[in-house]
Assembly symmetry: C2
Homo-oligomer: 391 residues x 2
C-alpha cells in the first residue's frame, strides 16, 4: 500500500504560559495508507514543523518533507527505515527535519501495528512489554514549601519515584537550591527514587554545577539531569567524575541518533533520555536503546506531552527489563489529556503497562481535538501550500 | 539604541532545480536599530526560518525568535553575544533556531560595522584581513569529459585551487569515480590544489569510502570533504587514519559551536568548514576559528550562495594568515549575484580580499531583490503573523 496523505493538526491551549511545560500545545500527525490510519505527534513549535512539511524546495538536499513521504510504499517496517533515510537525506540542510520526521515515523509504526493487528513493541521484535516504574515529573515549586507539598502529593498518589525540575533551580542562590532539594526529598520520603532536573541551566559551565553536588549526594539523588546543554560533552564528562554516586542523565535534546550516541560515548552519562517526538521517532529511539544496552547505560523515555506521545516513547524500550523507569507527566494541561480517548494509568502496583492493543493502543478523541484545533494557512507566491485539513 | 525591526525576505529563482546548488534561493535579513540598517542571510529553507521567527510560543524554551531580538539593546559586540545566548535559550526546543539566528547575527555585525564605520573583521579584533586563495567550487560533470572541461575552465579563469563535488560521485561505480577524479586533476593541472567533496554520500559507512582512497592519493588530493554526515565521528576517525596524506574536511552541517568542536575533537578532520549562515552567524563562526587555531586545524568558510553570505563567512577568519583558502562559488544562479551591488572578485593575483568598507561591505541591490521576492503570508487562528515586509 502507498502513503496517500500526511496531515498535521496544530492543537493549543487557549493561553500558552511562559513556563517550562511542554503540554500546552501539540502537533498531531495523521497518516493514511490503504484503508489504514496511523497517528503520531511531534514535539514543540508546531508551526515550524508544518512549514518544513510543505516548504518549497531550496535544492536537492533541502526539500519539503512531504515529498519524501507521500506516495511511498508502506508494507513493512523496512519501509519505515527506508522512508526515514530518504527524509533525512532530502532534508539534510533543513534543520527542523528530525522533529518533523518524528511524528511521521510514529504514525507509520502505529499504522503498521493496526494493519498487522499487533502492538508496536512486537513489530520492534519484543515478545513482552515489561511494566515500568513511573516517575512523576513536576516543576519545582516557587518555594521549598510548595516543593515539599508536591512531593507529599506524589507520595499520596502512590508514586515511588519523582523528578523535580526547572523553575528557579540553578537560577537563584546555592542555598535556595539546597532547600529545594531537601524539601523534595522530605516530601517524597526516604525510600523514594529522587531525580533532579537542572534544565540545561548552566549551559556548559561546570563551576555552578559543582556547588550543588553536595546536597544531591546528601539527599541520595539517583540522577542529576541536564546540568548542561546537549552538546556540552566536556562539561558533562568533568562533572560526572565528581558526582559519583549521583549519575548524570541527558539526551532529551538529541535530535538524531548520533547525538545520543555521542552523549553515551563522550559525555559519560549514566541514563540516556530520549524523546521519540524529537529524535526522529520510534525507529531512531530503538537504535539508541540497542546502543545503550550494549554499553550498560540505562535508557529512559522523555515525555512531557500527551499519552499518545507517552505510548510512542515507551514502545522502543518496552522489552528491555533492566530499563525499568519511565517519565510520566503528572501535571499536564487539559489539552494533553483530553486529546486521546485512552490513557496509560498506573496499575494497582503503581506500574505503567503498555496496552496490549494494535499500534500505539491510543486513539485520538477527535471531538476534543476539534476544540483545541488552531487554524493555519500558509501562502507562498499567492499559492496556498497549507491549510488545516479536515479532521 | 534598540532593535526596532527584523524583516525576512524570501528570494527565489523562478524555477528551483533538483540539484546540489544552494544558490537557487535566499533568505535575506534586514535589521534596523536607531538610524542604522544591517543585512544578513540565512542558509536554506526560507519558509521554515520565517515560521520560526514568528511562530506562537510552545513553552518557556520554545519561543518565536523575534521575541528574543526585537526591543533588545544593540550598542556593542557584547550585545550581539547576549542576544545570541537569549535566542538559543528561548529557542532550545525549536530545532530551526540556529539557522534562523545566523542571518540575524550577521545583520547585527553589519549594523554595528556601519554604526562605528569599520569592517566587521576589525570589530572581531583583527587589524588586517589577509587575502585568501579562492577555490572554485563546482559540481562534478555528468561525465569525466565534462569534469575535465570544468577543470580546464577553472584554470583558464585563473583559479589555482578547485573543488569538485556531489553529482554522481559515490553513487555510481568505483571505476566511474576514479575516472572523475583523474579528469578533475587533468583539467585543473598538476600544480593545482585539488579538493573532492563527497557530499555525505556514504552516511557513516567506511567501506565504500575506503575504495576511493587510492585514486585520491594518486591524484594528490588535498582534502576529501564530507565522506559522511556530520555526526559520523567514528567513521570519520577510522577513515582519517587510512587516508593520510589526504586529510578529511567537514563541518558545514554544524549548526552550533559544539558540533564543530566535536568534529575537531573526535572526528579527526584536518580542515573545519563553517557556514556562517547555519552555525549561528559570525559570532559562533569566530568561536570555531579560535578553537581550530588552538588545535592546529585549518579553518575554511563554506559558502554556496550570495556575496553577502560570502563576506559574512570570510570575516570570522579574515585575520588568521595560516587559514589561507576560501570557498568561492563560481557557478551561482543569477539571483545570488544580482541580489548585491558589490561583489568579491579575485584580484590580479587571483586572491580574494575583504572590502575595506564598514560592516560586511556588501550592499543589497533592492531593485534586483524585488524581482526575486516571493510573497509570503502566514495566518494562525485567523491572525496574520507574517506578511512579506516592504523593501
Amino acid at each position: 500500500m502507498q502513503i496517500e496523505s500526511v496531515d498535521f493538526f496544530y492543537l493549543s491551549m487557549p493561553e500558552v504560559l511562559d513556563i517550562g511545560d511542554g503540554s500546552q500545545d501539540s502537533l498531531l500527525v495523521r497518516l493514511q495508507a490503504g484503508n489504514h490510519v496511523g497517528w503520531g505527534e511531534c514535539e514543540a513549535a508546531p508551526l515550524v514543523s508544518i512549514a518544513s512539511l510543505v516548504c518549497p524546495m531550496s535544492h536537492s538536499a533541502c526539500k519539503p518533507i512531504q515529498d519524501s513521504v507521500l506516495g511511498q510504499r508502506l508494507d513493512s517496517t523496512d519501509d519505515i527505515v527506508r522512508i526515514g533515510n530518504l527524509v533525512r537525506e532530502s532534508g539534510l540542510d533543513l534543520l527542523q527535519t528530525d522533529h518533523t520526521l518524528s511524528g511521521i515515523d510514529i504514525a507509520m509504526w502505529d499504522l503498521l501495528g493496526h494493519r498487522f493487528q499487533v502492538p508496536v513493541y512486537q513489530l520492534l521484535g519484543y515478545q513482552y512489554a515489561y511494566p515500568k516504574t513511573p516517575y512523576a515529573s513536576v516543576l519545582f515549586g516557587d518555594t521549598p514549601e510548595q516543593t515539599l507539598e508536591k512531593g507529599r502529593q506524589m507520595r499520596r498518589q502512590g508514586y515511588r519515584a519523582g523528578k523535580f525540575g526547572w523553575g528557579n533551580f540553578g537560577r537563584s542562590t546555592v542555598q535556595s537550591d539546597i532547600e529545594q532539594v531537601r524539601a523534595a526529598r522530605e516530601g517524597l520520603g526516604e525510600d523514594g527514587i529522587l531525580l533532579i532536573d537542572a534544565g540545561t541551566v548552566w549551559i556548559d559551565d561546570v563551576e555552578p554545577a559543582k556547588l550543588r553536588l553536595e546536597v544531591l549526594k546528601e539527599c541520595g539523588v539517583t540522577w542529576l539531569e541536564e546540568p548542561f546543554i546537549s552538546g556540552g560533552f566536556s562539561a558533562y564528562h568533568q562533572l560526572a567524575k565528581l558526582a559519583h554516586p549521583v549519575r548524570l542523565a541527558g539526551g532529551e535534546g538529541a535530535n538524531n541518533y548520533y547525538l545520543a550516541q555521542h552523549m553515551i560515548d563522550y559525555a559519560d552519562i549514566g541514563f540516556v533520555q530520549i524523546d521519540a517526538g524529537r529524535i526522529g521517532g520510534i525507529s531512531v529511539a530503538k537504535q539508541v536503546v540497542d546502543y545503550a544496552q550494549a554499553r550498560g547505560i540505562t535508557y529512559v523515555n522523555h515525555t512531557f506531552t500527551s499519552h499518545l506521545a507517552l505510548s510512542a516513547s515507551l514502545q522502543p524500550y518496552a522489552g528491555t527489563e533492566q530499563d525499568n523507569l519511565c517519565e510520566y507527566p503528572v501535571e499536564p494541561k487539559p489539552l494533553a489529556l483530553e486529546m486521546t480517548l485512552d490513557h496509560l494509568l498506573p496499575d494497582k502496583d503503581g506500574k505503567i503497562r503498555l496496552p496490549d492493543k494494535p499500534g500505539l493502543g491510543i486513539s485520538p478523541d477527535l471531538e476534543a481535538v476539534a476544540t483545541y484545533l488552531v487554524d493555519i494557512e500558509i501562502k507562498v507566491g499567492g499559492q496556498c501550500l497549507y491549510q488545516t485539513p479536515l479532521l
